[in-house]
């Protein structure tokens, strides 16, 4: 069973590393969004540094959502989803492996790249570590909430736009606590720990609910 879990994980990571896999493309998209914001707001560094954590979080959220519709679609098309369904590995664990692979291929690089992009928005140095920490803890929630949405739209020909519409409202709590924890580190009345711990809790709950919902949706779709 561990073998099957690791096999799915390795396969998805290998697919993400190959051309068109989506991992590095999400990073480029993240960079593009962060670059677009100053064009809309103007080059005022004071303003940008004040809303820097918000820009980085919004960029990361959109970059996570953008490739998610392919999470199960490719497997549905080439039939590997049927093999996964028929294997001894419970579908929940298979979804967990795929979600984990998605996070390793997109969420983790996004979080690690955040300090570099923070330079573009003049992020204060004491905010860099908190932003990275919140992204590290918060992006798994996005991967797994998104996995639920991806499983619901796996059989659709035009799943590209409907997935963000389904998933985005459910990511509101992650965004709120991610940004407010990062901002709390910059000062204010709330200590960093409080929103950060709530963000951790939301992330854990999202991993459980997302996995169960995605597995249920994949079971229903045949």
């Amino acid at each position: 069973m561990t073998g099957a879990f690791l096999a799915i994980l390795k396969r998805d990571l290998a697919l993400a590393a190959r051309a068109g896999g989506g991992g590095e493309l999400a990073l480029v998209f993240f960079l593009t969004i962060v670059v677009l914001v100053p064009f809309a707001l103007g080059p005022d560094l004071n303003l940008l540094s004040r809303i820097g954590p918000a820009i980085l979080w919004l960029g990361a959220l959109l970059s996570m959502l953008i490739g998610l519709d392919r999470l199960f679609q490719g497997d549905e098309e080439d039939g590997s989803l049927d093999l996964i369904r028929a294997s001894v590995l419970p579908l929940e664990l298979a979804v967990l492996a795929k979600g984990l692979a998605h996070w390793l291929a997109t969420g983790l690089p996004l979080a690690l790249a955040a300090p570099l992009l923070g330079l573009l928005v003049a992020l204060p140095s004491e905010a860099i570590l908190p932003v990275v920490a919140t992204l590290l803890v918060g992006t798994p929630a996005l991967s797994f909430i998104g996995a639920g949405g991806a499983a619901l739209t796996a059989g659709l020909r035009r799943g590209g736009l409907i997935l963000p519409v389904l998933v985005a409202p459910l990511t509101v709590p992650v965004l709120i606590f991610g940004v407010s924890a990062a901002n709390a580190a910059l000062g204010g009345t709330v200590p960093f720990r409080t929103p950060f711990l709530i963000l951790c809790a939301i992330s854990l709950v999202a991993i459980v609910i997302g996995t169960l919902a995605a597995a249920a949706a994949l079971r229903q779709s045949d």
């Binding site: 519409v165 409202p169 459910l170 606590f177 949706a217 229903q220």
Partner: protein, 258 residues
């Protein structure tokens, strides 16, 4: 007693029985809705006094509050129906789910719009990022996502099961969203927003409000029943069309060799 309840539930699950029963119930329910809404609106318009602070705009509340309550109630109805779809494979449950979504979305929209019309003269702006307003807005977004998923999947029973999963995930999420929006709002703008009404509400306003709330609930149930009937008939037409197409296919296949 329990067996009797179960039996009547199973009877209701039969779409034909439901069609027969709903035909009997609908005129009564419609009459009650019209009567209650007429009495309620009369009281709200002519009898209830204008508020000493908010003036005539207080009358918007008589539509606003029932709309908010119904937007939440219909999400609950959808979630119960979603359980019915997933757990008991209740044939009527996904019909009830599908019919409830646009009605709930409409009441959420009415709630937001009436709130905006009230907010302009009272707060001086159509929209503030108040915690309650924001939660209803997110609820509307979830409703729209559910409707979009219904429209994207064309096979009804599969669509029903998929939407049921989304509805239940949303149901778990709504309290979390409410909690986080409350947190976010108190962090950003502490208590600058006026609170509606006083600590108590005078009976001259409470009675019209209660009557209208029951009246709107009856109206919403009428709409729900009519929409369910329409959906059942739509599915019958769909099945008949598929059967007819298959028959024509068979005829054509027989015709070719001859």
């Amino acid at each position: 007693m329990y067996r009797g309840d179960m039996a009547s539930l199973i009877d209701l699950a039969n779409p034909t029985r439901f069609m027969r029963l709903s035909v009997v119930v609908l005129p009564w329910l419609t009459g009650m809705a019209v009567l209650l809404l007429a009495v309620g609106f009369y009281l709200a318009w002519f009898v209830a006094p204008a508020d000493y602070q908010q003036g005539e705009t207080i009358r918007i509340m008589f539509v606003h509050v029932p709309a908010a309550w119904l937007a939440l109630m219909f999400y609950t109805v959808m979630s119960i129906a979603a359980l019915g779809t997933l757990v008991w494979r209740h044939p009527l449950a996904d019909v009830a789910q599908k019919a409830a979504a646009p009605i709930g979305a409409c009441f959420a929209l009415i709630c937001l719009l009436t709130g905006a019309f009230w907010g302009k003269p009272m707060w001086g702006t159509y929209w503030v990022w108040d915690a309650r307003l924001t939660s209803v807005l997110v609820l509307l977004l979830i409703y729209l996502g559910i409707i979009a998923l219904w429209r994207a999947l064309d096979e009804p029973s599969r669509a029903g099961r998929m939407v049921a999963i989304l509805t239940l995930v949303g149901f778990v999420n709504v309290p979390i969203i409410k909690f986080s929006v409350d947190w976010w709002n108190t962090l950003h703008q502490p208590a600058s927003v006026l609170r509606m009404g006083g600590p108590t509400i005078h009976p001259s306003m409470l009675w019209p409000l209660l009557i209208l709330a029951v009246g709107f609930t009856c109206l919403a149930l009428v709409l729900h029943l009519v929409a369910m009937r329409a959906e059942i008939m739509r599915r019958r037409v769909r099945t008949l069309t598929i059967l007819e197409a298959e028959r024509l296919d068979r005829l054509a296949a027989q015709g070719v060799p001859a």
